[in-house]
């Protein structure tokens, strides 16, 4: 359970940092009659509410994948674990997903500059590359099943399919949001709304890329190796 505890520690650190800016030492019973202008920095954050909402949601998603990783490491320690060889294709898929993130980042820059054509190009590239990533993952699954690495034949396989499926489902959910943003780009929605939409998509995409890099490292066994080295250094 150490992965999830580390993740929660990060969340707690962030929450603590935020709370420390909220005057938790205030004595509200002595602050009668003070209204809004006295507490300029203590109201809502200047960030758009939707971004904060997405941030909270990503914390939940991060929690979910940390828990899968925790379970992975605990199950890995048992004797019947036979790691499976990762298909080379996953490297290509990783590249495609990076491309998708880069495209969305370009769309964000374009949206800030008000270049609608570039926004459309960025959104379309991001959508197509994300779809290509999903197809690539399915092909990787197919290769594994053809080589006899079935879902139920070993826990390493089960975890591989389960975690990649969960990640893929999150990408699919993201595609729904991307589709809506694209629709508003093509139908000429309000520029500030479009910009927010593109920024939200980019935030989600970068996070899912980060999650993918994390689980790729875990599934490939590097994470375990690094932890092992760290433990040896410590003892």
């Amino acid at each position: 359970m150490s992965v999830i505890l580390v993740f929660l520690l990060v969340i707690a650190g962030f929450a603590g940092w935020w709370l420390s800016h909220q005057r938790l030492l205030a004595k509200p019973w002595l602050e009668q009659g003070m209204a809004g202008e006295d507490f300029v920095d203590l109201g809502r954050s200047p960030l758009p509410t939707a971004k904060i909402g997405l941030g909270v949601f990503l914390a939940v998603v991060g929690c979910l994948f940390s828990l899968f990783t925790s379970a992975y490491f605990m199950r890995m320690g048992l004797s019947d674990w036979r790691p499976l060889p990762l298909p080379r294709l996953l490297w290509l898929n990783t590249g495609v997903l990076v491309l998708s993130s880069v495209a969305l980042q370009c769309a964000v820059v374009a949206a800030r500059r008000g270049q609608l054509d570039m926004v459309k190009l960025g959104l379309a590239t991001a959508g197509l590359t994300a779809l290509a990533f999903l197809v690539g993952q399915l092909v990787a699954w197919r290769q594994l099943t053809e080589d006899g690495y079935l879902l139920a034949s070993n826990p390493a396989n089960s975890f591989f399919y389960l975690i990649t499926a969960m990640h893929g489902l999150h990408i699919m959910g993201g595609l729904v949001g991307l589709g809506r943003t694209s629709a508003s780009a093509w139908n000429g929605g309000r520029p500030e709304r479009l910009r927010l939409g593109v920024e939200l998509c980019a935030m989600y995409w970068h996070f899912l890329l980060f999650v993918w890099l994390g689980i790729f490292a875990v599934l490939a066994g590097w994470a375990a190796t690094i932890i092992d080295i760290c433990q040896r250094l410590l003892t």
């Binding site: 929660l8 909220q22 205030a26 602050e31 009668q32 209204a35 674990w81 879902l151 389960l162």
Partner: protein, 589 residues
């Protein structure tokens, strides 16, 4: 009335107006509504309805335990199904949904001075996914084999094996699917509760001016958002074990002389995941109760809450600590003794902030102008019950005491006192307190007092004797104990007595339901602020609050939520949106 500076002395609030969704038809106003208040009522009604099912299940259980062998239709399988579904409904579909979905939805926007939740559409979806989860759970009663009988903790391997009711039928599949749906629905709602507190607060409403109710619900929601994923992961993995033959949790096992295809899985892994959710869940239910009870006590004792800052810090501390105590549910799972020591220590440490809260409630009451209204009675009953349940928690938190008491009726008595009866008492108190705001009418006083005394005394008569049964060694989760040597004649009598009390307390709840329905039309008119309370929900221009909550102008907050009996003020309460300073040393401005 207190001196009021005209509101326009302050520049108009720059709070961004939420783009309110305006309902256009009966359907979008009352059914597919995006108004948090309607969603709150929908959540509460659904939770109450499914809670009634759980109440009936507890009666059936008590029929079997109190009068074993008398009722043929309660087979051992049926008994297991009753305890499982009773526990699951009460913990998740009733308490969590009612505190966060019901009270959270109703009170957060009103108390922080917002027009609605920040994402109303997602909020509406949250309710409908919750309803779907409830329907899936109910459907398991009609599925072949009936609902699951695995116990509310659903421990593998037995949960998905043949001997357990629903294990190889539909029961466990529907149960896990329903939980997954519940978690998805809750996450949608939870995002709203958290972000509304962060971003929806009106001008002047700093975090340290929030009523403790909002602090409790807010912290509990943050915890739930981080803890429910653990249950989600456990459910998905068990579903795969059951449906696709993986071995996440299933060890190599022989069933009815046949080797199953599972191999090498770890049931302990499930226990870790389950309790990583399960223990924070206790506080997810308790923290909103703590918050609400603080407000009830302060309002009905006409006195500011004692140690507001401590109360806030204690809520945060409890929230954080509750994530590092989960393995105290697993002392008997064969863990490393050092782990047991660690988790026993953290468990006992969590008693410190909790005790601070209890002291502060008592000190709020000290020399207060206590009005023994029904909400106050329930709040007082909560304090006593929570202390009782908490003390047995200190017993069970110690490894050496827990091991012999594990899986006995003592544990059942402990958690029913601390997270069953205590939060339910707060829910009742809160309903009596806020019903006038929701409906515009008071609940009937006589029926309410009857309901209180029967529930409070009855709950003690049910659960106090259970401690003794537990100390005698009577195990939980047994459908039939007649022939065991520990079941002396007096123990049998005690069991029958508990059962009869359970029926009486259950009957009192019917009176309460009747009161709820009858008072909608026939209750006394309440007016806008019957309890003369300070928080913003009592200052709305209309009662019940209209769509958008606060009329044209959002309120501006000038003070904390607990200005009761301020010397120098003309009334014994100063609402949060009244400007000016009062006090012995200061002249009103």
């Amino acid at each position: 009335m207190v001196d009021v500076t005209p509101a326009d002395a302050v520049p108009p609030a720059e709070v961004g107006e939420v783009e309110l969704y305006h309902p256009h038809s009966w359907w979008t106003k009352y059914v597919f509504s995006q108004d948090a208040k309607v969603i709150a009522v929908q959540y509460s009604a659904t939770a109450t309805a499914i809670g009634l099912v759980a109440l009936v299940l507890s009666w059936l259980m008590r029929l079997q335990l109190g009068f074993p062998g008398t009722f043929d239709f309660i087979t051992p399988e049926a008994y297991y199904q009753f305890i499982t579904v009773h526990g699951m409904i009460m913990v998740i579909y009733l308490l969590t949904a009612l505190f966060l979905g019901g009270f959270g939805n109703y009170l957060i926007p009103l108390m922080v001075g917002a027009r609605d939740m920040v994402f109303p559409y997602v909020n509406m979806l949250s309710y409908w996914v919750y309803l779907l989860a409830v329907l899936v759970l109910v459907s398991s009663f009609f599925a072949p084999g009936g609902p699951t009988g695995a116990g509310w903790t659903l421990y593998p391997p037995q949960a998905i094996m043949t001997g357990t009711p629903g294990g190889q039928d539909w029961g466990i599949i529907l149960m896990l699917s329903s939980l997954i749906l519940f978690i998805i629905g809750f996450t949608m709602g939870g995002l709203n509760y958290v972000v509304t507190v962060l971003q929806g607060r009106t001008r002047g409403m700093t975090l340290m001016r929030l009523p403790l109710t909002v602090w409790g619900i807010f912290t509990a929601t943050v915890m739930a958002l981080l803890a429910f994923p653990a249950l989600f992961v456990a459910c998905v993995m068990m579903l795969l074990d059951r449906l696709l033959g993986t071995s996440f949790f299933m060890p190599a096992i022989v069933e009815m002389g046949e080797q199953l295809q599972h191999n090498g899985g770890s049931p302990i892994l499930f226990q870790h995941l389950f309790w990583f959710f399960g223990h924070p869940e206790v506080y997810i239910v308790a923290l909103p109760a703590f918050g609400i009870v603080s407000d009830l006590i302060s309002t009905h004792a006409r006195k500011n809450i004692f140690g507001y800052r401590m109360m806030v810090w204690a809520i945060i501390a409890i929230g954080a600590l509750s994530f590092v105590v989960w393995a105290h549910h697993m002392y008997v799972s064969g863990m490393n003794p050092y782990f047991g020591f660690f988790f026993a220590t953290t468990t006992l440490i969590i008693a410190v902030p909790t005790a601070i809260k209890v002291y502060n409630w008592v000190l709020t009451l000290w020399r207060g102008d206590i009005h023994l209204t029904i909400p106050m009675l329930f709040a007082l009953a909560f304090i006593v019950t929570f202390v009782n349940g908490g003390l047995t928690g200190l017993f069970l938190g110690n490894v050496v005491v827990d091991v012999p008491l594990s899986d006995t009726m003592f544990v059942v008595a402990h958690f029913h006192m601390v997270m069953g009866v205590a939060p339910i008492l707060v829910i009742f108190g809160a309903i009596y307190h806020w019903y006038p705001k929701v409906s515009g009418r008071m609940l009937d006083e006589t029926l309410g007092r009857f309901h209180f005394w029967v529930t409070f005394l009855g709950a003690y008569l049910i659960f106090f004797p259970m401690h003794y049964l537990g100390l005698m060694g009577v195990p939980r989760r047994y459908a039939e104990l007649t022939d065991m040597t520990i079941m002396t004649e007096s123990a049998h009598h005690l069991n029958s007595f508990i059962s009869i009390m359970a029926f009486i307390v259950g009957f009192a709840q019917m009176v309460f339901l009747f009161n709820l329905i009858w008072s909608i039309r026939h209750g006394r008119e309440a007016g806008g602020n019957p309890w003369r309370a300070t928080t913003l929900e009592w200052q709305t221009p209309e009662t019940p609050p209209a769509h958008g909550n606060f009329g044209k102008e959002l309120p501006i907050v000038y003070r904390w939520a607990y200005d009761y009996s301020v010397p120098g003020a003309k009334q014994d309460f100063i609402p949060q949106n009244v400007p000016g300073t009062f006090g012995p040393s200061r002249e009103p401005t």
